[in-house]
């Protein structure tokens, strides 16, 4: 089916130009979280939430290495995230493979040798998949790792790029992904401009790989720049699933003063 994907003026279906990523919202940390690191990342309407537990002692001997930490990653997609009918299917091939991508990406980015004989557990849940879910998952994971205070070589940022007609475009939305053009996913250590993950799941026509790759890399930098900017607290409040800081602080301080008075008595 031939479809006009880019208007003659150079706009895409959702009004972006080819070199514009979707809007980014993120929320790092939160009050009362169970995990050591927590972050929510929104790329357009694609939404992912990441949790980091650790570094901690490995439960099983087989999971610990004497010279560095082990990293275990789990990426899961909520059943209501996509249009596809996937009720009750856990640990399917796709999630397993995507978990492996995450693992490979972060094994090269985290300074694992800083924590011998320990384990870091990373969980990412995609809550809404409206194009480039894995890129959003990687970005959420980076922020959660930073929140947990785990040293990394650099912020890892991911972005997709794909061919719309014959033009490369960055950060594909769901409609653009489904159009079936060639697409690549790149995760890069943005400061050093090194690439830690490159996934190509479809056939790329000859001569188009280099422009696609450059476009994705450019996208990584555009997203990283936005991630480093200070964030609007109001947006964070509406985005984060955890309680707002103020109400709980009151609560906590109340409990604390009680405990103090108790101790004196």
């Amino acid at each position: 089916m031939a479809m006009e994907v880019i208007t003659p003026e150079g706009f895409r279906f959702d009004g972006r130009r080819v070199n514009e990523p979707r809007g980014i919202q993120c929320c790092v940390g939160g009050c009362g979280r169970e995990a050591d690191g927590y972050a929510v990342f929104e790329l357009g309407s694609t939404k992912a939430v990441a949790y980091v537990y650790g570094p901690m002692e490995a439960k099983q001997r087989s999971q610990s290495l004497h010279d560095r930490a082990t990293l275990s990653c789990t990426l899961s997609t909520a059943t209501f995230a996509t249009v596809a009918r996937n009720f009750g299917r856990k640990g399917d091939r796709q999630s397993q493979e995507r978990s492996m991508w995450l693992q490979q990406t972060f094994e090269s980015a985290i300074l694992l040798e800083q924590y011998p004989r320990s384990q870091i557990r990373l969980f990412v849940q995609v809550l809404q998949a409206e194009g480039s879910p894995v890129a959003a998952a990687i970005n959420a994971a980076t922020l959660a790792l930073a929140d947990a205070g785990i040293p990394m070589r650099d912020l890892v940022v991911a972005c997709t790029a794909g061919l719309l007609g014959r033009k490369p475009a960055m950060d594909l939305s769901r409609e653009e992904e489904q159009a079936g053009g060639a697409a690549v996913l790149v995760a890069s250590l943005t400061g050093s401009k090194r690439v830690s993950l490159l996934e190509v799941e479809s056939k790329v026509p000859e001569g188009f790989f280099a422009p696609l790759y450059d476009m994705a890399l450019q996208g990584c930098h555009a997203i990283a720049e936005q991630m480093r900017r200070p964030r609007n607290p109001d947006i964070q409040r509406s985005l984060c699933f955890l309680p707002p800081r103020t109400c709980l602080l009151e609560h906590a301080s109340e409990g604390f003063s009680l405990r103090k008075s108790r101790r004196k008595a």
């Binding site: 009362g32 979280r33 309407s45």
Partner: protein
């Protein structure tokens, strides 16, 4: 002994000190629920969705529909390992997950709560609503959290208009784009009565505390009361069968609490 150490190694003793004064370590009194916050339309991709916070517990519910012969609601609750260190091994959450999924499905399908005839679309076909609930941060009282999130998500649900799919021999229905021949109108889902839950946990000293957090839940059995259309349903968790003796005492407290919950759900 240091208070933090005591809390960690002997939570029962730690709690006893507080409960003697009629207080809990987080500053609440015995019959005080945590602050609840509801956000409707939390997701765009589901028919209906809501996210709910209850203190530090947080859950996200999404409703998806498919067509089948018998219209009904099916609830599935997920307590993934990411929501708490308690569920680090998956099997620890399995019991609670299946209890919650089964109980919530039963409660929401009660005739006094939900009229399944509103799901009928065209001829034989009927909507089946799958309510998926993911717990995003677990700090006790999953029953209240999940039930309230499910209700809010269902009340947020819009059933889309349907049309006959063109070019198929058998009668197939599909979601209708604008300006097509509609066989089933778009409509909003209606609940006849809201089941309103209140949970209590039994402390080592014999007191009952309302809306228990994860530590309080681990100290003793808990009982969930659920007000459905003027009648109470009682669910025991963790072997609290002798709770029946205390129901007389707990019900008036629960009743005032349900009024507050109704207000939370009414609030736009």
């Amino acid at each position: 002994m240091d208070a933090d150490l005591l809390q960690r190694f002997n939570p029962e003793e730690f709690y006893r000190h507080f409960l003697a004064d009629g207080l809990r370590p987080d500053g609440r009194s015995l019959r005080e629920p945590r602050r609840a916050e509801l956000q409707r339309k939390a997701l765009g991709s589901a028919l209906g969705s809501a996210s709910l916070r209850l203190g530090r517990s947080s859950a996200l519910a999404g409703v998806r529909g498919e067509l089948d012969e018998i219209g009904r609601i099916e609830v599935s609750v997920d307590l993934p390992p990411l929501c708490s260190a308690l569920f680090r091994e998956k099997h620890r959450a399995l019991g609670q997950m299946s209890f919650l999924s089964k109980t919530l499905t039963e409660v929401l399908n009660l005739q006094s709560v939900f009229d399944a005839t509103q799901l009928v679309c065209h001829g034989e076909a009927s909507w089946v609503l799958h309510v998926h609930i993911i717990c995003l941060n677990y700090d006790g009282n999953a029953f209240d959290l999940c039930l309230l999130a499910a209700i809010a998500a269902l009340e947020d649900t819009d059933l889309p208009a349907l049309m006959k799919e063109p070019g198929t021999e058998a009668e197939r229905l599909a979601i209708a784009p604008a300006e097509s021949e509609i066989v089933a109108e778009a409509r909003k889902l209606v609940l006849l009565a809201r089941p309103l839950p209140v949970t209590f946990a039994r402390m080592p000293g014999g007191q009952w505390v309302q809306d228990p957090c994860a530590v309080e839940e681990s100290l003793g059995a808990s009982v969930s009361l659920c007000l459905v259309d003027g009648r109470w349903l009682v669910f025991h968790q963790g072997g609290g069968a002798d709770a029946n003796r205390f129901l007389e005492e707990l019900m008036p407290v629960a009743r005032t609490s349900t009024e507050k919950l109704a207000k939370l759900l009414d609030d736009p």
